[in-house]
């Protein structure tokens, strides 16, 4: 049952991106184009998503444990350090250039458009390289966050 729920969540997530226009990279660039023809829809997507999720979190947490696992896995509190804001900055640059981020790009991948393929391959490479470098220098287990 668990795997099916995971699959359903992926489908819902993808449908949410598609119907809101977020599987069109140009719409993302338009949201970031505050000096130009601004498209506010990404903000509305986030308002809808945060609204739905934040409202349900306290209700969901009333249960003593999740349905298929033994405990709630909150991400480690984590430091607010240079990696956080440098990482966010790097992500912002790439996002601004491509209009793509991990969620939408995986939904767009089957379209096999060359820019999407190039971005996705490079993104996976970047993730892989960073995680390997991070594990080696920090000596810490690879984070799931």
């Amino acid at each position: 049952m668990g795997p099916l729920v995971g699959l359903l969540a992926g489908v819902l997530f993808a449908l949410g991106l598609a119907i809101s226009g977020m599987t069109d990279g140009n719409n993302i660039v338009a949201f970031l184009d505050i000096a130009g023809a601004w498209d506010p829809r990404l903000a509305l997507v986030m308002v809808g998503a945060i609204g739905a999720h934040a409202a349900m979190m306290p209700i969901l947490r009333r249960r003593s444990r999740p349905r298929f696992t033994s405990e709630y896995l909150d991400p480690r509190p984590g430091k607010i350090d240079a990696r956080l804001w440098i990482g966010a900055g790097l992500f912002g640059v790439g996002w601004g250039v491509a209009g793509l981020c991990p969620g939408p790009v995986l939904v767009m991948l089957p379209s096999a458009a060359p820019p999407v393929l190039a971005f996705t391959g490079a993104m996976i490479a970047g993730m892989w390289i960073y995680d390997r470098w991070n594990a080696r220098t920090a000596g810490a287990p690879l984070s799931l966050e």
């Binding site: 599987t23 981020c101 993104m123």
Partner: protein, 149 residues
């Protein structure tokens, strides 16, 4: 569909909010079922790092499978960004791949889940990547008048 920034009144607003609700519902479903966040960058990375989590692979399958249906039957909904060379997309991909791992999340991980859970790191990261994204697009607009990168 494929609005390209043109607003057709209330419909696109409603669709945007509804799409967001669906994404929030997906995150709620994952929280109910597995007690974990729905950050696509983290889920993708865990597959690369060969995690044993049962639901990650199926979640990605849901994203990709829906993408297959869209590509086959609703191709107008899936549009690659215009005015960007393959090289630019590749460089952007490296920045995003490194950035989401270094920063610990992306729009779904920090923007949706982190903010919904009131995590300080996400309240910092999300405005940063949005602001930097906006600066980047504005810089491209100013430096590349043709809009081609």
């Amino acid at each position: 569909m494929g609005y390209s920034g043109a607003s057709d009144g209330g419909l696109s607003i409603i669709l945007a909010l509804t799409g967001g609700l669906l994404i929030g519902c997906a995150a709620n479903l994952i929280e109910w079922a597995f007690g974990q966040t729905t950050g696509v960058s983290g889920i993708t990375a865990s597959m690369l790092n060969r995690s044993k989590s049962s639901w990650h692979g199926f979640f990605l399958l849901g994203l990709l499978g829906t993408g297959v249906v869209l590509a086959l039957f609703f191709p107008e909904m899936v549009v690659a960004t215009r005015g960007r060379s393959i090289a630019a997309m590749a460089v952007a991909g490296i920045f995003v791949g490194v950035g989401v791992r270094m920063g610990g999340g992306c729009t779904s991980g920090h923007g949706v889940c982190g903010i919904s859970r009131r995590r300080p790191r996400s309240f910092l990261a999300t405005p940063i990547f949005i602001a930097v994204g906006m600066l980047t697009v504005t810089a491209i607009r100013m430096l590349m008048p043709g809009g081609q990168l």
